[in-house]
């Protein structure tokens, strides 16, 4: 039985001890997620790039690892923290998968106290480290964090496809849609393919003309990791495309649309990460539960007059969706493709396709 000591270290120097399961010590942004299920979807979601995922639900890995639960071909998180992790003779698949992917794991952590700490501090840098004691852990974490912070901040670019990928859709009558990939989840592609004749995935730094050359009927801006301010090229490219073809932005894509429309984005004190966030949707005239995973938001005051706030997060009133009707562009801060989380808002994909037709 592995009984090595592991630590979750916050940039401020606070330390939460636990059991170390393996993998290299690593730094990243410490984020918690309150979903009860969906660990695999989260860990394979590129939006989690460079983040250390703390699940508030205390028991993880219970149902193993399944291909259908993957949201991309790799695990993007920089660490996994929970209270108890499934590790029996019968089933230890999820633990194995993380370790194979060089993702450090710390369990037996007082994750609730850690979550309360993160809630009060806001999302912060931190590290998972294997160490003999607290002071050693803090030392090691410091250097790892510094190193991670020096890396290129355009995280979307780092996780985005490097080349253009064309995928056949399942609906021959449907439109051809271009997806600007900031770290696109598989289920966005699945939802599009079921409605479209063709889906073309392009890199995050694609130029305006490159998109025009593909002649899509609609443009989807995908989810992705990091600070929207650090995403290069995309907002400028998009500005030229607005009004040319209908646009639908999701999460990072929403923030990029906001920026392209001239609005500002800011870092939320409390990031939204969970599968239970209520959204008031004025486009579809509904209130529903959504899956969310973001630390930044579009600032309401900075939105130009012609842009309507169509979606609101009922927990804190922040902007969760906008529409520029004359430019046929709309976007949402949450995940209508779910995975993990409720499927309640999937009709937004239909709305997008209707905008095109």
């Amino acid at each position: 039985m592995n009984t090595k000591l592991g630590f979750v270290v916050l940039e401020s120097g606070e330390c939460f001890p636990g059991q170390w399961h393996g993998g290299p010590s690593k730094a990243g942004e410490l984020v918690f997620n309150t979903s009860h299920s969906g660990y695999e979807e989260m860990a394979t979601d590129p939006s989690y790039y460079s983040q250390i995922l703390i699940t508030t639900a205390s028991q993880q890995g219970n149902y193993g690892e399944k291909d259908e639960d993957k949201e991309s071909e790799q695990i993007w998180i920089h660490g996994f923290v929970c209270l108890e992790l499934q590790n029996s003779k019968r089933d230890h698949a999820w633990r194995e998968k993380l370790l194979q992917s060089q993702v450090p794991i710390v369990t037996e952590v007082d994750t609730r106290s850690l979550t309360l700490e993160l809630r009060e501090k806001g999302t912060t840098w931190g590290a998972l480290v294997e160490a003999q004691n607290k002071s050693e852990a803090i030392e090691l974490a410091k250097s790892l964090i510094a190193e991670e912070k020096r890396k290129d901040l355009d995280w979307a670019h780092r996780v985005s496809t490097k080349e253009v990928v064309s995928l056949q859709g399942e609906n021959p009558q449907g439109p051809k849609v271009c997806v600007i990939d900031f770290g696109c989840k598989k289920n966005i592609i699945r939802e599009l393919r079921s409605r479209c004749s063709e889906v073309i995935l392009v890199p995050s730094r694609f130029e305006e003309q490159q998109v025009r050359d593909l002649d899509p009927q609609g443009i989807l801006l995908s989810n992705g990791p990091g600070n929207p301010e650090d995403v290069q090229v995309a907002a400028e490219s998009l500005r030229g495309l607005l009004g040319w073809r209908p646009v639908f932005g999701i999460c990072m894509g929403h923030q990029i649309l906001g920026r392209a429309l001239g609005a500002k984005t800011f870092k939320l004190k409390y990031g939204h990460r969970g599968a239970n966030h209520p959204i008031k949707d004025d486009l579809l005239s509904q209130i529903y539960m959504t899956s969310q995973n973001h630390g930044y938001a579009v600032e309401e005051q900075s939105l130009p007059k012609n842009v309507k706030v169509t979606h609101r997060n009922l927990n804190d009133g922040t902007v969760a969706g906008i529409e520029a009707q004359d430019q046929k562009a709309f976007s949402v801060q949450f995940h209508p493709e779910s995975h993990p989380g409720p499927h309640d808002s999937v009709a937004l994909f239909d709305y997008f396709v209707k905008q095109i037709q």
Partner: protein
Amino acid sequence: MPIRKDIKKVVILGSGPIVIGQACEFDYSGTQACKSLMGLGLEVILVNSNPATIMTDPEVATRVYVEPLKVPYLDKILEKEKPDAIIPTLGGQTALNLALELFDQGVLKKHNVQLLGADPKVIRAGEDREIFRGLLDQIGAKYPRSEMVRTFEAGLEAGDQLGFPLILRPNYTLGGGGGGIAFSKEEFRIKLAQALHESPTSEVLVEESILGWKEFELEVMRDRAGTFVVICSIENFDPCGVHTGDSITVAPQQTLSDKEYQDMRDEARKIIEAVGVETGGANIQFAVHPETGERLVIEMNPRVSRSSALASKATGFPIAKIAAQLALGFTLDEIQNDITKTTPACFEPALDYVVTKIPRFAFEKFPGTQDILNTQMKSVGEAMGIGRTLKESFHKAILSLEGAAEGFREVKFDQSKLSYPNSQRIFYIIQAFRDGVSLEEIHSLTQIHPWFLEQLEQIVDMEKSISAWKKLEKEPLLKAKRHGFSDAAISKLTGIDEIAVRQERKSFGLTPGYFRVDTCAGEFASETPYFYSTYWTEPDPKGLQVKESDHGKPVIALIGSGPNRIGQGIEFDYSCVRSVREFQRQGYFVAMLNSNPETVSTDYDTSNALFFEPVTEESIANVLEFTKAQSFVAQLGGQTPINLAAPLVDQGFSLMGSTLEAIDRAEDRGQFSEICKELGVKMPQAGMASNISEALKLAQNLGYPIMCRPSYVLGGRHMEIVESDGELEHYFESHAATISEKRPCLMDQFLERALEVDVDLACGPDWAVVGGIIEHIEAAGVHSGDSMGVVPPQRLKEETALKIEAVSVQLAKKLGILGFLNLQLAIKDDEVYVLEANPRSSRSVPFIAKSTKVPLVDLGVRGMLGLKSSEVKPEQYDWKKVSGVSVKGVVFPFKKYPESDSILGPEMRSTGEAMGRGADYGEALLKAFVTSHMRLPQNGKVFLSLRDKDKDMLLPLVKELQALDFSLVATTGTAKYLEDSGISCDVVKKVHQGNPNCVDLIRSGEVALVINTTSGRESIEASFGIRRSCVDYSIPCLTESDAAEAFLLALKNQKTSQVSVSSL
């Protein structure tokens, strides 16, 4: 959408007396709804016939009607109150069925009253399985293959087609009543006949078995704008085949992937939309195939339920309260989340802990009934444990059952106890692991998901390593505590004394921390004082604001009564909850500790701080230390807290009210009889015997009949009246396990035909108030919890009543009671005998308080606090000023225990009580019978089988029955007696005389009423079939002459009087 302007006055229907499948969870939901609607400024009219509830406390609603939940009474209430609407979704199936009847009979239309929360179409869709399945087909949801049958023949045919095993589900019954699983054709024939009979519409669904599938439940809510949320997902530890009320359940669900879970959620949404649930809560049960993941819908309830109460406690989301507000027109986004105070109620709770619910059973009270669980619910209560991991929460739930302080007790391994689900299966599973049976084998025997079994295996692994400890060390001990092991368990495993374990643990700094149940897994700040303990955090969490230094008020800890059981149920929750308000008025901060998720006491709204913890010495001590409580209150939660008082005082905690010495004086038979002697108060002659030879000798002095009972029992466990040496020997043989030198058998002279009374008092240092005297309707010998009772007494002479009061007050003084005292007395030939003293609030307190309007609980609290007569002014409370008559009715669960005998005796077996209020005795009796689910016949055949000593006494009654147009039929002896007395009567054979006999006659449906009095073990056994057939066919069967007389009075009243109602 804001509140509807057209609704100013609503009626809330309760669920009536506590029965299996419909218990105090509906008191919780109704009370919550009343509070919330009153808060919105509505007039709330509450109707419930159960006096033990908090909801029937006059302070809860604008007006409270303790009246039968039957159409004629509701008709009167509606006429009187002229409400705008009825909310029928908070009182269980009883309320829904009543609403449907009111609609069908045009009563709603007549009074221009609408239904809120569920309309007749929705109620039918939820209850009529054929309609429901039609809706499922429309949305493409799958369900087990089945056939609805209306005749026996159609049933047999369906059985042949579907193959065995088969599940039978009668329509419109609660708690799966009358249903079951049949493994063979023979079994099927028996169960089919019964099920057809049980269903009020004679419809039974015969269904393909899904034994072994995983079972889930979703608690959902919807508002009128169509917003849909899942409040809680619940996974059953026991796979399909065991009623969910009898299953161990866990929240949130643990073994579904997100995709599987979300697909289930989507389907739930479609279902409640298809059913047409406009607003409110509903629960939907699913079965999922363990390998293929195939999902089937089992059932849905368009109302709050037992599970929604559990879900509310598990998540902190008050489903009933929100449902009431939604019914009034609010939408989810307009209602604030009570817990966070910053976010709306429109969200799905996130849990960062695990909740385990374990049912509590009462098979031991129903000898002859096989302890096997199936689709018909049998449990009488439940306990819930909250922990950070399944192991921690499971252990807490087990400790909450009060089986043993060491948790998973040892049993002798028995494979059949794994294969056939039963009330003790969890202990056999643990034992199997201890004995080295492999997980795979246990899985193949039980079909329980291996994930759950692994958690149990880890508990046993921990147990093994604890057994190997030579001494206690900090790290391993912490690990053991995190696995949920109690100090007592560690002590037992290591052989180290429990006190030493506790002291060492504390010396290591190992005490639990407390976390808040906050609905959001810590995502938002929350102030709500709802806590659970865990060893997965530091012992000193910040900012919980529960100590006196935080808020300036002295803290007292109020100990609840744990899971409901027969003998200790909702009545004690009433006392606890009612006392909170009085303690608060007196300036205290009340910390409530309890483990029962069904109750009002475990509503975070009830006390100043709620600790959801096992009611054990260790948990209480931890809470007392954590809150720095000034003292603890043990008088309100029944016998459980009283039993824990001594060890807690030994630990140095301060007990409020009557001292330990006073408690002992009342409970210790020796001391108590000394006191009685000193005061010149009579007691039945008594003695103790620890073996049969001593007993036989003692019997000679006492003379038969003798009441035998073991020491220290609750609810009359193992109590029996013996009439001969032979029966005494039999008693000692069959109770050998509970009788020993240390725990001798108590043998009392039995006062045959004595009148019994209950007296409840509240006492202060220089005052005592008698809350009232309940006169039992059945003669001595029937447990006070099982006998009907009446206030004010009808047969007691006035001077005897005064004598009883005087004796009671004298005793209270002499015992040194501060707080509550309950006395049971017997009156024979105008002599008063004291049978028993309980130095605590009792089962009869709520009934007395509601009958006499003396605020007994408030007074008890003032007494405990030591308030003087000059402050309390006790002279203003006079129970004798009461106008009208109140009768306590009782309900029994015999139907759910197919082999049990319904004869009443000294062991309590009723699950609940009802109250009939009338201008006179006859009216009150009628209402009490009606509301206790007795069918009062208008005419028909009365079957009589009377023991000799009752014959003369019952002769006038028999004559009156004849005058009321009933025809008579009797067994040979009784018939001959009647003929000799000039009464014509048919004769029918006794069972041993061959067919057709009296039981055949009853089962043929020709008999409307049975009076069967009997005594002595042999005659009781011989007449079992008579009583059992009455239970099976819902025919009133009276086993006591006094009860028969009361029943006759009610029958006469039914024929002559008008229906009338009045509020409390």
